[in-house]
Symmetry: C2
Subunit: 280 residues, 2 copies
């Protein structure tokens, strides 16, 4: 990103946020909390969810289409609010597009590297994110003396999407996934999938008080704010009443998305629109 | 389908079978058992799975692309081995393409209408299939005096895909889904999603001996055989040794698909190829 590109981006332009589906709403929610003046265009790829079991090539192709769609809104930056897409596609997107793009993995990795005391960090995520070893790579760049234990938890996404956020079944599945991480005495656990903050209380209960849970959504909003400040791109003005501050687009099932979104975000989402993402 | 079209189809041509992913392998398996001379081209849309939570428009668009892909193999017929695609897309496909296309819903509905004694039939399936009310519609055409109770079971697909075919968690989820069907005293239960035969023993245990489980995969293979016989399209010759009798294509993750397929089908699947289905 050079100065020339920064200078043609507008501070009052919206921020593009995308995810494979509804999980990225936990990131959008953090941006709304920490950056209340910003406008957001959210895209959830509900026609092709989940990304976590798909290949790098497929996830990159999908992510590229979404960035092209978000660019039609003249967004000033894009947040890849999906761990799998951050792991697989971020490098390619940064090379191909000339606006700042930030993912959720680096901010989460940075915090975990800072927080750990015993140097044993667990990462729970989709198969794809774990397979990419991307958290491990970023954390090792910051701190060579830590050991990272990755664990794929494929059932957490469907359980969270079914609303079983506090439920004996989710407890049981979480125990099975997390036992090995408890046994090797991690003191820090990265919630490496944007759905997982929805079952945070279950995860906290099983891991116990001594383990710090790192939610990359929170850290990403902090990094986003810093980046916008440095580039002079923070929106200084509160959007006027009646402005459509948050807009939601999906590739399928807008009504269902809206219901789910309203259970996560307290701003009252009035509408979501379906678009054909394969055209971008 | 008129005589002219039938006559240019070849008896030794392969049968196209498609599904949103791996579930349709339970249908392919039945075709292999009941029609051992037939060649099969299987396509699993693993890049865009699951279909069960997607809209009719999206599922129809995807199904159309897949039929065009299968036609490149000069298939003599196509089996829509996915309940959601059968519910949403079969009518459109039959109108647009000039080869015989059969779905899994009608054969399952027919059997259930014949099997029930007390006229109370349960259907378990994805949200999309239940929402379409297609089983109800077909069964009522055959027998007006039955009552059909539909129940969406969205967690069965991820549980089956994770291999928890016999597991306390699957028991617990199944109990929650099925209790209301037991309470209203159904005597017949249609397994309205191609994944569900994989957890058949769990379903049977919970429903008890008095409830007949209808597996549309089995009935579909019977209907397929009848249809091919009527049209003179049954393959009379055993494929020669060394013939590639069964070919598998997916839109993503061929290696993972192959592993899963080999746990379902006992023929030893040597390879699966990934293709870009969006190009069709």
């Amino acid at each position: 990103m050079n100065q020339e590109i920064s200078s043609r981006l507008q501070a009052d332009a919206p921020i593009g946020v995308f995810d494979s589906g509804v999980g990225g709403l936990t990131v959008a929610r953090e941006i709304m909390r920490q950056l209340p003046n910003e406008k957001i265009i959210y895209f959830g790829d509900t026609a092709r969810v989940p990304y976590g079991s798909k290949s790098q090539e497929t996830v990159t192709r999908y992510s590229r289409q979404i960035v092209r769609f978000l660019q039609t809104f003249q967004v000033k930056t894009i947040v890849v609010a999906c761990n799998t897409a951050s792991a697989y596609a971020l490098d390619a997107l940064e090379q191909e597009f000339d606006i700042p793009i930030i993912g959720v993995v680096k901010p989460g990795a940075k915090t975990a590297a800072e927080v750990t005391r015993n140097g044993r960090i667990g990462v729970i995520a989709t198969e794809a994110t774990i397979g990419s070893r991307i958290y491990s790579q970023y954390i090792k760049e910051l701190n060579k003396d830590v050991t990272i234990y990755g664990k794929a938890c494929p059932l957490f996404v469907p359980l969270a999407e079914e609303g079983l956020w506090q439920d004996p079944v989710t407890d049981e599945i979480a125990k099975r996934y997390l036992t090995e991480l408890i046994d090797i005495d991690i003191d820090t656990l990265i919630l490496g999938c944007t759905h997982y903050p929805l079952i945070r209380s279950t995860l906290g209960k099983i891991m116990g008080d001594k383990v710090s849970l790192v939610n990359p959504a929170y850290e990403t909003a902090i990094e986003l704010k810093q980046m916008l400040e440095e580039r002079g791109l923070l929106n200084q003005e509160t959007p006027r009443l009646g402005t459509n501050q948050y807009q939601f687009y999906v590739s399928d099932g807008a009504e269902k998305f809206k219901r789910f979104a309203n259970s996560i975000i307290k701003y009252g989402i009035l509408s979501a629109k379906t678009i054909n993402i394969e055209e971008y």
